[in-house]
């Protein structure tokens, strides 16, 4: 018995797949959490806390700002520093008209939290896919490593490569083929077009997602930077369709 659920939330679609579980209430809890995150963090909602912080109506240090939000803001600050400004949620054109859009971190963060919740309820084998960003626990329905396709950037109906993964692991892909060329280099304000997509594998989805965006901004050379991040590996597909990987990434590829 397993549970499979699809929810349209946070402006995307989240697929939840729990192996060997029939805990519907856990799914309800996960979905409620995602809506809660959307309420607080969505830059599309005029009165969300994030929109108010972006407009300067609320300071991040105000007592009304919950711990979760502070944690996210702090991590975003650390990432801006670690990436030398290539990932900077304070320099992104935001749907609410400000320059503050933490979506690039929040989605991964919220889904990683959801994964912790699943694991804490004794479900070891699961797959949560939030708009193409994936967090995995244990093994698939056949007791085998999860087979994860990486979408072909030039063809939505096919795959560029297939990875074999045993959880816990997170896989995030950033690219220019969805939502237009939406990867903007915060340092120049211009779209990054050298890469069609960047995929990052690692222990934490929020980090992996932020790193995938970072590599997209940096270009092929971003893989050098990524290889210096302990526990993370990745690949890029250039605009011309070339695949370049970090050394450790190749261990994940299907034989």
């Amino acid at each position: 018995m397993s549970v499979h659920h699809v929810e349209h939330v946070m402006g995307t679609t989240v697929s939840i797949d729990l192996v060997d579980s029939h805990d519907r209430s856990l799914v309800d809890e996960l979905v409620a959490w995602l809506y809660e995150v959307d309420e607080v963090f969505s830059p599309y909602k005029e009165h969300s806390l994030i929109s108010r912080i972006g407009r300067g109506e609320v300071a991040p240090t105000d007592t009304e700002v919950p711990h979760d939000v502070r944690e996210v803001l702090q991590r975003c600050g650390e990432l801006a520093e670690a990436t030398d400004g290539a990932f900077d949620v304070w320099s992104q054109p935001s749907p609410n008209g400000t320059r503050f859009d933490p979506c690039g971190y929040v989605k991964g963060w919220s889904v990683q939290r959801a994964a912790h919740l699943v694991r804490s309820r004794g479900v070891a084998d699961f797959c949560i896919n939030a708009g193409g960003d994936v967090v995995l626990g244990g093994y698939d329905h056949d007791g085998c490593p999860w087979k994860v396709g990486i979408r072909h950037p030039f063809d939505p109906q096919s795959l560029a490569l297939v990875l074999h993964e045993v959880g816990p692991v997170a896989i995030a892909t950033s690219g220019t083929y969805e939502r237009g060329a939406h990867i903007v280099d915060p340092r120049t304000g211009r779209p990054s077009t050298e890469l069609a997509s960047a995929t990052v594998i690692g222990p934490d989805l929020a980090q992996a997602d932020a790193f995938a965006t970072t590599v997209c901004v940096m270009g092929v050379e971003g893989l050098h930077w990524l290889a210096g991040q302990p526990g993370y590996s990745g690949c890029v597909i250039t605009a011309a369709g070339r695949l370049v990987t970090t050394d450790s990434f190749n261990r994940h590829r299907a034989a």
Binding site: V3, H5, L18, N129, W146, R151, N250
Partner: protein
């Protein structure tokens, strides 16, 4: 030197590759030494031999890639099943590279009229804060037969770790999801609307049809 031609076959060239290639072409005579003379068939036809050489090189690069793909597929079944072909050839700069050998250095001795001695020629290393990037071209019988991005070790362990395998691979054929039997698909964030035409949507529908969950 710049050029308006920015495709290999029907594919666009990486902007990065184009840039490095331009740098390399500008430096090609230097790399080849003073014995270099224009190839007669190119000089007779083109006002700009370097550009002509580049264009024919790009065409040949594509041809060599296809040939190598066949070569590689024969030796590694998994490459064929995954649907990739390799776009790289032998790389003397990177000793750990496991790629097809194509042009032995001895060929140079049997082809005295070639423009440039056979072998791989590295271009100018371009430094930026993420590391050094370099392009190299491979000559065979006086023609450039392949162009590849080489990321040079610069004494930094991080870079070495990438360089060991950071050889570009050409995607010539994608994998059908059905054939790959994947459980999930990672891709750039889709909207709720684009989800409907995504592979993940098809996978979710299949699970729903199987009566798994809701």
């Amino acid at each position: 030197m710049t050029t308006p031609h920015n495709t290999i076959g029907d594919r666009p060239i990486d902007p990065l590759l184009q840039h490095r290639l331009d740098q390399l072409i500008a430096r090609a005579p230097l790399a080849a030494g003073s014995a270099v003379s224009p190839a007669p068939r190119l000089a007779g036809r083109r006002a700009k031999p370097a550009r002509a050489a580049k264009l024919s090189a790009l065409a040949l690069s594509t041809v060599s890639t296809v040939m190598l793909a066949g070569l590689f597929a024969q030796h590694a079944d998994n490459v064929d099943s995954i649907g990739f072909t390799t776009g790289t050839i032998s790389d003397p700069v990177l000793p750990t590279a496991t790629t097809a050998q194509t042009t032995p250095a001895t060929v140079a001795a049997t082809a005295p009229d070639t423009l440039v001695a056979d072998g791989a020629y590295a271009g100018i290393a371009d430094s930026n804060r993420w590391g050094n990037v370099q392009v190299q071209v491979v000559y065979s019988s006086g023609q450039i037969t392949d162009v590849q991005i080489v990321q040079y070790p610069d004494g930094d362990n991080k870079s070495v770790r990438i360089n060991a395998r950071a050889l570009p691979t050409l995607i010539s054929e994608s994998i059908s999801a059905q054939r790959a039997d994947v459980s999930t698909v990672s891709g750039a964030t889709y909207t709720s609307v684009s989800y409907r035409v995504s592979l993940q949507s098809a996978i979710d529908n299949a699970k729903a049809a199987m009566g798994v969950g809701s």
